[in-house]
Amino acid sequence: MATAPTPHLVFDGVTKRFGSVQVVEQPFDLEVARHEFVAFLGPSGCGKTTLMRMVGGLDQPSSGEIRLDGEPVGRPDRRRGMVFQSYSSFPWLTVGQNVAFGMKYRKDLSEQEKAVRAERYLDLVGLYEFSDSYPNQVSGGMRQRIAIARTLAAGADVLLMDEPFGALDALRREQLQAELRRIQRRDAKTVVFVTHDVEEALFLADRVVVFSKRPTRIVAEIDVKTRLGEERTLEMRDGDDFFALRREAIGVVRAAAGGEL
């Protein structure tokens, strides 16, 4: 690649405890390059979601620091957008209004610019014709697309996604994964994607960070980008390379889980 990865998002000795519960016990270090797609893969309760939430500013580290472009992250803001697994869109707004809601608090855009942007992102995620429908009138996959479009419309540089496709059926999930990867490459976004699905992590990410069960620790990093390249298609999923990588990764994850998976 032309550009050398510069540290964009940095976890620097981060720990987290809620009351007496140590969620991230040992200081956690990680660097994420600009425009990199990183998947946090690990069993439930391993602290991966907490780490991601701290990037979003929704939780604060107990010690250590998370920096974005050298600046410590504080309160949540629109540069770090979240996509949740459930309740990801507002049921009282139409699909179009949900996407536009991402820009509600932006004062740097005129109403007309907002409308143009909303349309652009609706189109990007293929929801243009559902603009006037309500979220409960569209499928679960479309609801997750609403959330992605809203986050992009808000102008997020970093997308933080907490098992966003966890509730979808297998076919929709594959389709949405391919789409997310395409959007991420096109719009050059940095993504932190939390999942416990090995295949999902490998298919989406440039780099997969494998977590152990508590105490939170990185047990392996899988450089998917070198193995599979940057472009991901649904056909690749059936290829030998992907299959071999998947088998390796599952071995690593099993070892990390210590037979508890």
């Binding site: 500013g57 929704l58 803001d77 957008g81 459930s86 990801s88 507002f90 809601f101 991402g102 997020a156």
Partner: protein, 286 residues
């Protein structure tokens, strides 16, 4: 019978089918399957038919002389009494006065309960501070506080509004807090990550998310207001439906007593249906 036609069908079904679902239901039997849907006009038709049936039975029993008119007048007599009261006793004006009292107290309770309830659930210290007092007052019977209310406010409008407010505010505030508690955390967090402040998240997201259940709770609370209204108007009033009912009782004019009661029921029913219709229109997304 339909049975004869259905059985061969049932026999041809695969044996693995649940026995309870096996028989194809007839139109009537199908409506009594647990939680079965009712086709559109049928709900209204059944509701009207049953109301008419009850009234007809009542009228019939009263006309046969099975009841003493003094205790249990026929619906036609009540209706006639109501007509008389409208033309000679200013019944419409009394109803209007009562309605104003109910809405005045109800709006006062709502305007106070909504922000306080939201604050109680949104900010733990506020909830911790207010909940014991509210829970205590909530269980005080309103009639028991009538004497105190008269000592405080005399026998004017203030006492009536106070009693109605007392009966609704403390219930409503806890219902509002509950509505707010049910707003998913994800909604707040989504708002924060697109740049909303706390106040904006409360106004644009939390309030909006809880609005349908809030309106439902307001509708139910408004009904309670009418209950307390009668207590307030019986104790100390020279106007309102409670006064009319109480005055009629003194002369044992049972049809007039019942006419007053019926009018309250009619106003309640009409208001409730109106609010339901508004609810359906405003929250089409539900």
């Amino acid at each position: 019978m339909t049975e004869g036609r259905v059985i061969p069908d049932a026999a041809s079904l695969p044996a693995t089918r649940d026995a309870g679902l096996r028989r194809r239901p007839s139109a009537v039997g199908g409506a009594f399957r647990l939680r079965a849907a009712l086709p559109r006009p049928w709900g209204a038709v059944i509701a009207v038919a049953s109301s008419i049936a009850i009234l007809a039975l009542w009228e019939f029993v009263a006309r046969l002389g099975l009841t003493t008119p003094l205790f249990f007048p026929a619906p036609s007599e009540i209706l006639a009494a109501m007509g008389r009261m409208f033309s000679t006793q200013h019944l419409a004006w009394h109803a209007w006065v009562s309605t104003l009292r109910v809405w005045g107290a109800f709006l006062l309770a709502a305007v106070m309960a909504i922000p306080i309830g939201m604050a109680m659930s949104g900010f733990r210290p506020v909830g911790a501070a207010l909940e014991p007092a509210i829970d205590f007052i909530r269980y005080l019977p309103v009639p028991a506080l009538v004497p105190l209310s008269i000592i405080w406010f005399g026998v004017g409008e203030e006492t009536k509004i106070f009693l109605l407010w007392l009966g609704t505010f403390f219930q409503l505030v806890l219902l509002v807090a509950d509505d707010m508690r049910r707003v998913p955390n994800e909604y707040f967090e989504t708002a924060y990550t697109i740049g909303a402040s706390q106040a904006q998240a409360l106004k644009d997201v939390a309030f909006r998310a809880m609005l349908p259940s809030l309106i439902d709770n307001l509708r139910i609370t408004l009904g309670w207001c009418w209950t307390y209204l009668i207590i307030a108007e019986i104790v100390a009033a020279d106007s309102g439906l409670g006064f009319v009912i109480w005055a009629a009782r003194r002369y044992m004019k049972t049809p007039e007593v019942m006419a007053g009661v019926v009018l309250i029921g009619v106003i309640g029913l009409a208001t409730d249906q109106l609010l339901r219709a508004i609810h359906r229109r405003a929250f089409r997304y539900l």
